[in-house]
C-alpha cells in the first residue's frame, strides 16, 4: 500500500514539467494506459492479502481518479493556452483591403431616366417607345410643323434623306401611339433624340422623356398637377415651380416650366442668369391640329403633352455644369453616381 504514495508524487512531479497536450497524453498513458503504472497496480490487486485488498483497492482507485482529474484539468488549461497561442500566431493585418469586385455603376442619365419613369408609372402612366430614325412626317408634319415652317428652326435636324431624319424629340411617339390606340391614354415615351448642335449645354445626342394624357376632360390644370407632382418627387417638395407662356407648334396653350435654381436656391447666380429660375420642361395642351392628324375629334378629346431633357434634369439634380461629361464616359465621373 505504501508504494501508492510515491506513485502519486512521481506523477505530480512529472505533471509539473508537462508543456503541451501530447506530453500530457503520453503521461496519461504512462500512468493510466493498459500497461500504465496505476493500471498495473490494479492488476496486482489479486496478489494482495484479502484483508488488505479492499483498502488497497480503494487507495489505488483514488489515485487513479486523482490522476484522471489532474490530467483533465491540465488538459483544458493546456488547450486554452494552445488556442491562445494559435490565435496570436494567426493574427492578420486587418487594415489590408478587402477583396471584392466592386459593382459597376449606372450611367447617371439612365439612373435619372429610370427615376423619371418610376414616378410617372406611379401616377398610372404607361411606357411606349418609337424609332430613333424617323419619318419627317411623324417628327414634324403630324406635329403641326409643315415644311417651310419657321418653328423647324427651333430644332436643328440631322437628315438621312429629305423625308427621313434622326428624331429631334420623342414627340413622334405621341403620333404613333394615337394612330393605333384610342383614349383614354396616359403615356410616357423615353428615348434618345438628336440635334446638330454642340456646346457646353448641347450635345448632338441626348435623352428625352415625352409624356401625354388624352381623355374627354383633360385641362391645363391637370397638366399643372401632374408636372408639379413630378417635380416635387424628382427634386424635393420644397422646390418652387412656375409655369409661363411659351410656344410649341404641337401644343396650344403652351408653357415652359421653371424650377427654383438648384445651384443658388433662387438667389440668382451665373447658371440661372440671375433670374433665380431654371427651365426644365416644355408642355401644353395638345393642339387640335395634332388630334385632327391622327383622326381624333378635337371637340370630344382634350389632352396635354410635355417633354423634358433627361440630361438637363440630371445636371440640375447633381449640379453638373457641362453636358459633354455624360458622353465622355470617364470612369472618374461615372463612379460618382
Amino acid at each position: 500500500m505504501l508504494d501508492i504514495i510515491p506513485l502519486k508524487k512521481a506523477f505530480l512531479d512529472e505533471l509539473n514539467s508537462i508543456t503541451n497536450l501530447s506530453e500530457l497524453q503520453q503521461l496519461r498513458v504512462k500512468y493510466l494506459g493498459k500497461k500504465g503504472l496505476v493500471t498495473s497496480k490494479l492488476k496486482t490487486l489479486s496478489t494482495v492479502s484479502p484483508e488488505l485488498r479492499p483498502a488497497y483497492g480503494r487507495a489505488v482507485n483514488e489515485v487513479k481518479d486523482y490522476i484522471e482529474e489532474e490530467v483533465k484539468k491540465r488538459g483544458s488549461l493546456l488547450k486554452k493556452e494552445e488556442h491562445k497561442k494559435r490565435i496570436l500566431s494567426e493574427a492578420i493585418d486587418m487594415t489590408l483591403p478587402g477583396k471584392f469586385t466592386p459593382f459597376g455603376r449606372e450611367h447617371p442619365i439612365n439612373k435619372v431616366l429610370y427615376e423619371i419613369i418610376d414616378i410617372f408609372i406611379s401616377m398610372g402612366f404607361e411606357v411606349e417607345e418609337g424609332p430613333e430614325v424617323e419619318f419627317d412626317y411623324y417628327n414634324f408634319e403630324a406635329l403641326n410643323m409643315p415644311k417651310d415652317h419657321p418653328a423647324r428652326d427651333m430644332q436643328d435636324t440631322f437628315y438621312i434623306s429629305e423625308d427621313i431624319i434622326l428624331r429631334t424629340h420623342t414627340s413622334p411617339v405621341q403620333i404613333r401611339v394615337m394612330e393605333k390606340r384610342r383614349p383614354p391614354l396616359k403615356i410616357i415615351a423615353p428615348g434618345k433624340v438628336y440635334r446638330c448642335d454642340v456646346d457646353i449645354s448641347h450635345t448632338p445626342m441626348f435623352h428625352q422623356v415625352e409624356g401625354f394624357m388624352v381623355d374627354t376632360d383633360i385641362a391645363f390644370s391637370d397638366l399643372k398637377w401632374v408636372l408639379e407632382s413630378f417635380i416635387h418627387s424628382i427634386f424635393s417638395v420644397e422646390t418652387p415651380v412656375r409655369f409661363r407662356p411659351s410656344f410649341f407648334p404641337f401644343t396650344e396653350p403652351s408653357a415652359e416650366v421653371d424650377i427654383g435654381c438648384t445651384f443658388c436656391a433662387g438667389k440668382g447666380c451665373r447658371v440661372c442668369k440671375n433670374t433665380g429660375w431654371l427651365e426644365i420642361l416644355g408642355a401644353g395642351m395638345i393642339d387640335p391640329r395634332v388630334f385632327e392628324m391622327v383622326g381624333y375629334n378635337p371637340e370630344l378629346y382634350t389632352g396635354f403633352a410635355f417633354g423634358m431633357g433627361v440630361e438637363r434634369v440630371t445636371m440640375l439634380k447633381y449640379s453638373i455644369d457641362d453636358i459633354r461629361l455624360f458622353f465622355e464616359n470617364d470612369m472618374r465621373f461615372l463612379k460618382q453616381f
Binding site: H107, G124, P150, M205, E228, R244, E252, M285, N329
Partner: protein, 694 residues
C-alpha cells in the same frame, strides 16, 4: 430680339424698374433671357417665339407691356403733309399669291450722310451697324415697328418700273425680254435665283431678292440723290423657302417668314419717309400702293365653356372679353359663345385653343389651379421588355461592369479598324447628310468601336481596371425607308497585370464569359453554347460565338494582336476582352414565368473522372457527351480542372469532371452508382478516344 429699355419707354409711360418689366414680360410669354447694361440704359434680350412676329419690334413688346402694366400705348402719328404727286413711277405685282401688297414712296433730293448719334446709338444697342442715314432709318423703323423696309437708289431703277414676281412668271408674261436670274446682293455675293423665288425687278433686271436682301446695283450710298422706299407684304412660306435655299437670313427675311403686318405697312413707310425728310432732307412724293388681296379677318366662333374646359378654370364670360379687349383683339358677344376677329398682326390666332392661350396668358398661368386629373385610374407598368432590360443592366453591374452611353454615330473608318469584311451586314450603314463632323457621319452598326474608345480614354487617364457595358440600338440599312434598329448589349474588359495584393489567376476572357453566363442565369436562359468565332478582329484562339437556343446571339473574345497594335497602348500584350449580344433576340428567349421545381428529397452521390484527351477536344464537347448519356440519374456535370504540362503527353490535355448522381424516388446504393459510373467512363473514353488519367 434686343430691346433697349429707354426706347421701350417712348411707347409706354411706366415707372417700373427694368427688372420688374423683365419679370412681367417673362410671365406673359416673352422670356427675357438676359439683361445687359449699355451706357446708362438696360437692354433686354427677349426670346420671341416663332408664333409672335408682331413682337419682333419695340412697338410689339411695348404693346405687351402696356397690357401687363395697364398703361396706354403711345404710337407716333405718321401723317405726311406736303407730299407731291407722283407721275413717273409704276409698280406691278405678277404673283399676287406671294405678294398681296406692295407700297412705295419716292423721296427726291436727299443729302445722304451719317445718321445722328441718337439713331446710331439705338441701332448699336440692338446689334445693327450704322451705314448711312437712309439705310439706318429703314433699319430703325424695322426695329421700332417690326416692318422690314427697303430703300433703292431710284436713279438706278431702269424704266422707273418696279415688278414683283418669280422669274418663271415674269418670263412668261414678258416673253421678249432677256431676263437674267442672277443677282449680286448687298453682301457682294452673286446669286443664282431659282424660278420660283420671288424677286423685285426693274424694267430689265432683278434688283432685290424680295424680303430677303437688296441688290448691290441699286444700293443707296453717299452719292444717292433720289430714293425709292419699299414697304411690302410677302407670303411667309415663299420668303422662308428662298432664304433657306440661298442660306441667307436677314433681319427682313426673319420677320417676313414669320409674318408681317399687311395693314400696318403703310404707317411704317410713312414713318421712315418722315424721318428721311427730317434727317436727310428732300421731298416726299405720294404713295404708290398696290394692294390686290385685301386683309379680311377670319372670324372665330368660340364657346365660353370651351375655354374653361381647356384651361380647367372658371373665368366668367365678361372677364374673358375684358382680357381680349385689353389685348387689342376685337370680339363680339353672342350669349353662349363669342366671335373673335383677329387683327392683321395676330394671324397666329386661328382657333379656340389660340384664344384660350391669350386668355390664360393674361389671366396668369400661376392663377390656373392645379387639379388631380379626373381620368379613371389606370395601372402604370413597365412592359416585359423594359423590365428585362433593367434585369440585364443589374446583372452586368453586379459583375463589375459600369454602364456607358455613347453617341449613335461612328466614323467611316471605324469598321475598317475592326476589320469588318466588305460583304458583312455591318457595312449596310445609314449615312447622315449633314453631320457635325466627318467622323460622326454614320449611324453605328456595332457598339464595339465606341467601347474601344471608352477603354482607351480611361486607360490614358490611369484607370487600370476597366469594365464597361452599353445597351443601345444599332442601325442597319435593310432597303426599307426606315433602318432596322436592333438593341445591343456590348461590353469591354481590361485589367492591368501589374502586381497586386490579391492575385487572381483567371483570365479576362473567363471573367467576361462569367459575367455573360451569370446574366443568362439571372434571366433563366439555360440553353446556350460558346463555339469558336470567325470575327476577324478577335484573337483566333480566344474568341467565341454565342448561341442561345440554337440561334446566333453574338460574340465574345479577346481583341486580336493587329487591332491592339493599332491602338498604340504602350502596354505589353494587353488582354482586352469585348462582347456584343443581340438583345432584341435575347429578350424573346427569356421565359415569361417561373415554375417551382420540387427540391430533391434523396441524397446525391458524387464521382470524379479525369481523362487525357486531344488538345482539340473542348470541355463543352465532353460535357455534352456526358449530358446525353442515357441515364436519368445524372443530375449535374461540372468541369473542375483543365491541365496541360508535365505528365501529360504533347498535344494532349487533362480534363476533370465532377458528376453528381441522384434518383428522385430513392437513395442510390453504392453498387448501383459504381456500375453506372463505370459504364459512363467507358462511354466517354469510347467517344473521345481518350484515356483515364491516374
Amino acid at each position: 430680339m434686343r430691346v433697349p429699355f429707354e426706347w421701350l419707354r417712348e411707347f409706354v409711360d411706366i415707372s417700373a424698374s427694368p427688372e420688374e418689366v423683365a419679370e412681367r414680360l417673362t410671365m406673359v410669354g416673352f422670356e427675357v433671357e438676359a439683361m445687359e447694361s449699355v451706357k446708362d440704359d438696360t437692354v433686354f434680350e427677349v426670346n420671341v417665339t416663332p408664333n409672335r412676329p408682331d413682337c419682333l419690334s419695340i412697338l410689339g413688346i411695348a404693346r405687351e407691356v402696356s397690357v401687363a402694366f395697364r398703361v396706354p400705348l403711345k404710337i407716333h402719328v405718321c401723317e405726311i403733309k406736303g407730299e407731291l404727286p407722283l407721275s413717273d413711277f409704276s409698280v406691278e405685282i405678277f404673283n399676287h399669291e406671294l405678294c398681296s401688297r406692295y407700297a412705295g414712296r419716292v423721296i427726291k433730293d436727299v443729302r445722304i450722310s451719317d445718321s445722328p448719334e441718337w439713331i446710331k446709338t439705338r441701332l448699336e444697342k440692338c446689334g445693327i451697324r450704322a451705314i448711312n442715314s437712309v439705310v439706318d432709318i429703314t433699319n430703325y423703323v424695322l426695329l421700332e415697328f417690326g416692318h422690314p423696309l427697303h430703300a433703292f437708289d431710284a436713279d438706278t431703277i431702269n424704266g422707273k418700273k418696279i415688278k414683283v414676281g418669280m422669274p418663271d412668271t415674269v418670263l412668261l408674261q414678258t416673253p421678249n425680254s432677256k431676263l437674267q436670274t442672277k443677282i449680286k446682293t448687298l453682301d457682294g455675293v452673286e446669286r443664282e435665283i431659282l424660278g420660283d423665288s420671288l424677286l423685285i425687278w426693274d424694267a430689265e433686271n432683278p434688283i432685290a431678292v424680295a424680303g430677303v436682301m437688296g441688290g448691290l446695283e441699286t444700293e443707296v450710298n453717299d452719292s444717292t440723290a433720289n430714293v425709292f422706299l419699299e414697304s411690302a407684304y410677302f407670303e411667309p412660306f415663299s420668303i422662308r423657302r428662298t432664304s433657306k435655299r440661298l442660306n441667307l437670313i436677314s433681319e427682313s427675311s426673319y420677320r417676313f417668314e414669320r409674318g408681317a403686318d399687311i395693314e400696318f405697312l403703310e404707317k411704317a413707310l410713312n414713318r421712315a419717309a418722315l424721318m428721311i425728310r427730317e434727317i436727310a432732307g428732300g421731298t416726299i412724293y405720294e404713295i404708290i400702293d398696290v394692294y390686290p388681296v385685301r386683309y379680311v379677318p377670319e372670324p372665330i366662333k368660340i364657346r365660353y365653356d370651351r375655354i374653361n374646359r381647356i384651361l380647367g378654370t372658371e373665368i366668367s364670360n365678361a372677364d374673358m372679353l375684358k382680357i381680349l379687349k385689353k389685348l387689342g383683339i376685337t370680339t363680339e358677344d353672342k350669349g353662349d359663345f363669342f366671335i373673335v376677329y383677329p387683327s392683321a398682326y395676330r394671324r397666329d390666332i386661328k382657333r379656340d385653343s389660340d384664344v384660350a392661350e391669350e386668355i390664360a396668358r393674361s389671366y396668369g398661368y400661376d392663377r390656373i389651379p392645379s387639379r388631380i386629373p379626373r381620368s379613371p385610374l389606370s395601372s402604370g407598368k413597365l412592359d416585359k421588355k423594359m423590365m428585362n432590360i433593367i434585369r440585364i443592366r443589374e446583372a452586368m453591374r453586379k459583375s463589375g461592369f459600369t454602364e456607358v452611353i455613347n453617341y449613335s454615330f461612328m466614323s467611316p473608318s471605324s469598321l475598317d479598324v475592326i476589320a469588318v469584311p466588305q460583304a458583312d451586314r455591318r457595312r449596310n450603314v445609314i449615312v447622315i447628310n449633314n453631320p457635325l463632323r466627318q467622323d460622326e457621319s454614320l449611324l453605328r452598326t456595332t457598339l464595339i468601336p465606341a467601347l474601344i474608345g471608352n477603354f482607351k480614354y480611361n486607360l490614358d487617364r490611369g484607370i487600370r481596371d476597366i469594365r464597361f457595358f452599353e445597351i443601345s440600338s444599332v442601325f442597319e440599312d435593310i432597303g426599307r425607308p426606315l433602318p432596322l434598329e436592333e438593341l445591343r448589349l456590348g461590353g469591354i474588359f481590361y485589367r492591368d497585370k501589374t502586381p497586386s495584393l490579391w492575385k487572381e489567376d483567371v483570365e479576362g476572357f473567363f471573367i467576361t464569359k462569367g459575367a455573360i453566363e451569370s446574366m443568362f442565369e439571372e434571366l433563366k436562359i439555360n440553353e446556350y453554347s460558346f463555339s469558336s468565332s470567325s470575327e476577324l478582329f478577335l484573337h483566333k484562339g480566344q474568341a467565341s460565338d454565342i448561341y442561345v437556343r440554337g440561334a446566333y446571339a453574338g460574340y465574345l473574345g479577346v481583341l486580336g494582336p493587329e487591332i491592339v497594335e493599332r491602338l498604340d497602348l504602350k502596354k505589353q500584350r494587353p488582354e482586352i476582352v469585348v462582347f456584343e449580344l443581340n438583345l432584341d433576340l435575347l429578350l424573346t428567349l427569356i421565359p415569361d414565368s417561373i415554375k417551382y421545381n420540387e427540391i430533391p428529397r434523396y441524397p446525391y452521390v458524387e464521382r470524379d473522372i479525369a481523362i487525357i484527351v486531344d488538345e482539340s477536344l473542348s470541355a463543352s464537347e465532353i460535357k455534352e457527351i456526358i449530358r446525353t448519356f442515357p441515364s436519368e440519374l445524372i443530375e449535374e456535370v461540372s468541369v473542375f480542372d483543365s491541365y496541360r504540362g508535365s505528365n501529360i503527353p504533347e498535344g494532349k490535355k487533362s480534363l476533370a469532371f465532377n458528376i453528381r448522381y441522384r434518383a428522385k424516388d430513392r437513395t442510390l446504393t453504392d453498387d448501383e452508382v459504381e456500375e453506372l459510373h463505370a459504364s459512363l467512363v467507358e462511354h466517354i473514353l469510347e467517344k473521345t478516344g481518350g484515356e483515364l488519367r491516374r
